[in-house]
């Protein structure tokens, strides 16, 4: 019966489809800082669409991604665009005239139906999941391969030591590196801070500090630095420099003896990510100011620099970076996915070497400022890549390895245990991405008003929703699937906490993918503002590079949705690849691992579909 109904529906659909006639559509869109009404427009492919833009307050524009058409409107002076909706999908229309602080995020969505890009990617995500089941079934029937290869291609034990090149090793052993790079970075950040300070409450998209920090730097972290080079940002970060100098009592050279300051050990109960988790989440409450108002960015960065110094006065070495820095936390978690690492080459050499100069220091360099034991750590999480261990090791036994992505997700040692703190870091990062996308890149003016605190009650509601999503809702949903995984596995020995924590590491590639997709939506439409601000960094009328009058020019917005969908699918593959391995680590029997994996595969597939819906649907 059901089959007959479906067949009939399909037949009717096929009969009707050719008779969907293109129409002329006239739509009035009203712009008011910082949203459009209506914020969502739906038309059919082939329709001739006329949009009349009116403004209720100031000068607004409307640029339509993908169709590259735009118009502008003043109060009392409307603008009109007409185009043929010949490309299917969801397209963002955005304000093209700087109309205030939240201008880059004044957007709406045009749906040209059927939304075939979303449908295609959604089908692909389901096929990927189903395909992985076939691979899993075939693996279960055959012999175990001698080497564990990612996607059957890349040996997870493969490493290539970049310091095997002598110039690189020499550079890493020099006391001037990375200090020289830090000093250049310090100068650069000083200029950015100055621009933020003098920028006051001016529009952030015309401030070099705001643009470099929240558009370029953040995107670079998510696109390149963290996934490829782990915590290389920490290597050149200028923020803790003053604290380091104070501790060491020297700028470059190594002074023997006890370090300055109270040198208290960080409390044992807080040697995890919890403080960073809450500080980072708390920081994002103020994103509606920091990302758009130069002075707010100045306050945040200034507070981080100040806190790093004051914490450095009290606690040992890089305690601030390890356990407090808001930027450090997500780098720590996501660097587990990174394609590079610092490790000792031969543990046997280290075993015979006393004292452990990489930890206690020597005349050549300082003992690990990150309080790690470079001779035996196995995960990137807390390695700030300061390169001191290269300088202090007399046997040249440290390596800067290139490696396959995601290796650390499978690592757990007695000293580097997986934990709920890292699990929640994953949830928080994912929750922030969801909330930020909906507010920054969604068509909901009320939510934007809540985030930028036009009313206290709205702001508090935003904080409550944001916290609930990140701290409670996502973990709760994940917890249900973890429980189902335990039930499906049939294993009663493994604790639910272990199942929950182990599988939470699948959120690392997922989170990274989501953040890369989110960053594309910020960078491609708004990156051209960078050309203006680098030419006139302090808005003093300079034109250093001749690009001060370069107009706002969105790039590749016609393919942005496709890129975002592709990124999500690629990282779905990583989630599945490492998720199944984590299942095998969680459950001792391979049959249990296969059964226990199914609910988690469902979760990851549903999550991917959810994100595809968010970005494309």
């Amino acid at each position: 019966m059901m089959i007959r109904v479906l067949a009939l529906a399909l037949l009717v659909g096929l009969l009707i489809a050719p008779f969907v006639v293109a129409e002329e559509r006239y739509i009035e869109v009203s712009g008011k800082t910082f949203s459009y009404t209506p914020g969502v427009i739906k038309v059919n492919e082939g329709d001739v669409v006329t949009i009349r833009l009116t403004s209720e307050d100031v000068h607004h524009g409307l640029f339509l991604d993908g169709y590259e058409v735009q118009t502008k409107a003043h109060p009392g002076q409307d603008g009109v665009i007409t185009f043929v909706a010949d490309k299917p999908g969801r397209f963002t229309f955005r304000c093209s005239v700087t109309c205030g602080e939240f201008h880059p995020y004044m957007v709406g969505h045009l749906y040209v139906e059927p939304n075939s890009p979303f449908n295609g990617y959604a089908a692909l995500a389901v096929l990927v999941a189903l395909g992985s089941l076939i691979v899993m079934a075939r693996e279960g029937n055959g012999d175990k391969p001698a080497k564990d290869k990612l996607f059957g291609l890349i040996d997870l034990d493969w490493r290539f030591d970049l310091t095997s090149f002598k110039p690189i090793r020499t550079l890493f052993k020099s006391r001037w590196f990375p200090l020289g790079a830090i000093l250049v970075n310090l100068l650069f950040f000083f200029a950015l801070l100055l621009s933020m300070f003098v920028g006051g409450y001016s529009a952030g998209n015309y401030n070099v500090g705001v643009m470099f920090v929240w558009i370029l730097w953040w995107v670079m972290l998510m696109f390149i630095l963290v996934p490829f080079f782990a915590r290389t940002w920490c290597m050149v970060c200028p923020f803790p420099l003053f604290s380091d100098w104070y501790h060491r009592g020297a700028v470059i050279e190594v002074k023997p003896g006890k370090q300055s300051g109270l040198n208290k050990p960080w409390p044992k109960s807080l040697k995890n990510m919890w403080v960073m988790n809450f500080l980072f989440l708390g920081t994002t409450f103020f994103s509606g100011f920091m990302t758009v108002k130069p002075l707010a960015s100045f306050i945040l960065l200034g507070a981080v620099i100040l806190a790093s110094f004051i914490v450095g006065l009290v606690y040992k070495k890089r305690s601030f970076c390890l356990y407090m820095c808001p930027v450090s936390g997500f780098q720590a978690l996501y660097s587990q996915f990174a394609m590079s690492e610092i490790r000792c080459k031969d543990p046997e050499i280290c075993k015979g070497h006393t004292p452990k100069t990489c930890f206690v220091g020597s005349e050549e360099g300082h003992g690990c400022p990150w309080l790690l034991t470079p001779f035996d750590f196995k995960k990137n999480t807390y390695c700030g890549m300061c390169l001191e261990c290269f300088k202090t090791c007399p046997h040249d036994n440290m390596a800067f390895n290139l490696r396959p992505p995601g290796v650390d997700l499978l690592v757990e040692t007695k000293r580097e245990k997986r934990g709920l703190d890292e699990a929640w870091k994953g949830f928080i990062m994912l929750g922030i991405a969801v909330v930020f996308f909906i507010i920054y890149q969604g068509p909901y003016g009320e939510l934007k008003d809540m985030m930028r605190a036009t009313t206290y009650s709205g702001f508090l509601t935003f904080i409550a929703i944001h916290s609930t999503v990140s701290l409670i809702a996502l973990p709760a949903v994940f917890g249900v699937f973890a429980y189902l995984s335990k039930l499906a596995s049939g294993n009663r020995e493994v604790s639910l906490k272990r199942v929950f924590v182990n599988f939470s590491y699948t959120l690392v590639p997922m989170g990274l993918g989501v953040w890369i997709a989110f960053s594309l939506g910020i960078l491609l439409p708004n990156g051209s503002y960078l050309l203006h601000v680098i030419s006139d960094p302090f808005a003093w009328g300079w034109n250093l590079l001749g690009t001060a009058n370069f107009p706002w020019t969105p790039v590749f917005t016609d393919v942005m949705g496709y890129l975002q969908g592709a990124v999500l699918i690629v990282f779905q593959l990583f989630c599945i690849a490492f998720g199944y391995r984590l299942s095998k680590q969680t459950y001792p029997e391979s049959s249990e691992a296969r059964r226990g994996w199914l609910p988690m595969l469902c979760f990851l597939t549903l999550a991917t579909l959810g994100f595809l819906k968010l970005f494309l649907g």
Partner: protein, 281 residues
């Protein structure tokens, strides 16, 4: 112990310095305030027991002996591109006879512009009376979102109304669209019932001419100077949209001047700060 105290003191000093820096930044977050000494001009409108008839051969001698005030004008900054020149000032006189209130505006203008067409613009001036309790801080954009009653005299209307001559152009532009230099809106000319438009506005782009103009006005261009007179009843026929005047009370008013030869129209104009109008008893 000493070391701990040093850390505490150093921390407090650094935090205080940072907070001081933030405070300074917040105080100047909208830019560095310019030193601007502004002393509000007081314009007295004394009681004088006389009428001026605007019909026929009106003599400017009627205004002899009444105190005048020179009021500085500056350009409407909210409209781009900013001009090189503006009308620098306007001389104003006022009085009332317990029935009507009169204003007299005079300013230099080398060219007589009384034809309003697609590319020629009429000379004009206006008096703005904010309505309601809360007077805006600035006269920019007609006091932003505050309500105002505006009396706008236009040379082309004066020509048509008092001289009975035709409009001189069938269509005209009366809107300045600042970012599209070649684009002007043309609209049909309206029949003028007075030389003065009696207008209500609640911010930019809301200028609405009332159906009935309660204000009379007449202008004379003599030897490169405009002399323009206004008259209206002291009482408001509709308090929601009409300015009202009570002897003994003080009101905020502002002035605007359009120089047609400079391309002034719509938002492109010279405006004054608010002036205190004291209606004498």
């Amino acid at each position: 112990m000493m070391k701990k105290n040093t850390v505490i003191v150093l921390s407090i000093v650094l935090i205080a310095l940072f907070l001081g820096l933030v405070r300074y930044g917040m105080q100047h977050a909208w830019g560095i305030p310019a030193d601007y000494e502004y002393e509000r001009v007081v314009l007295k409108a004394p009681f004088i027991d006389k009428d001026i008839d605007f019909r026929g051969a009106t003599s400017l001698d009627e205004w002899e002996g009444i105190d005048s005030k020179e009021i500085k004008l500056f350009y409407q900054l909210m409209v781009l591109p900013w001009p090189k020149d503006s009308v620098p000032s306007v001389t104003v006189k006022a009085f009332h006879n317990k029935k009507d209130i009169y204003f007299y505006l005079s300013y230099k203008d080398d060219t007589l512009d009384e034809i309003h067409g697609g590319n020629t613009f009429s000379d004009a001036n206006a008096i703005m009376f904010p309505l309601g309790e809360d007077v805006p801080n600035s006269t920019l954009m007609m006091g932003f979102m505050g309500s105002s009653n505006i009396w706008q005299w236009k040379a082309n209307q004066d020509r048509e109304f008092w001289s009975g001559k035709g409009p001189g152009a069938r269509v005209y532009a009366d809107y300045y669209y600042p970012f599209e230099e070649n684009e002007t809106l043309t609209v049909m000319g309206l029949e003028h019932v007075s030389a003065v438009n009696d207008i209500i506005a609640t911010g930019i782009a809301t200028l609405t001419r009332k159906n009935v103009s309660l204000v009379e006005g007449r202008g004379f261009w003599i030897d490169g100077t405009w002399h323009v007179m206004f008259r209206r009843s002291l009482t408001a026929s509709d308090p929601e949209v009409d300015a009202a005047f009570t002897p003994g009370e003080t009101y905020s008013i502002a002035f605007a001047v359009w120089d047609g030869a400079s391309g002034d129209r719509g938002g492109r104009k010279s405006i004054s700060d608010f002036v205190s109008l004291e209606a004498g008893t």
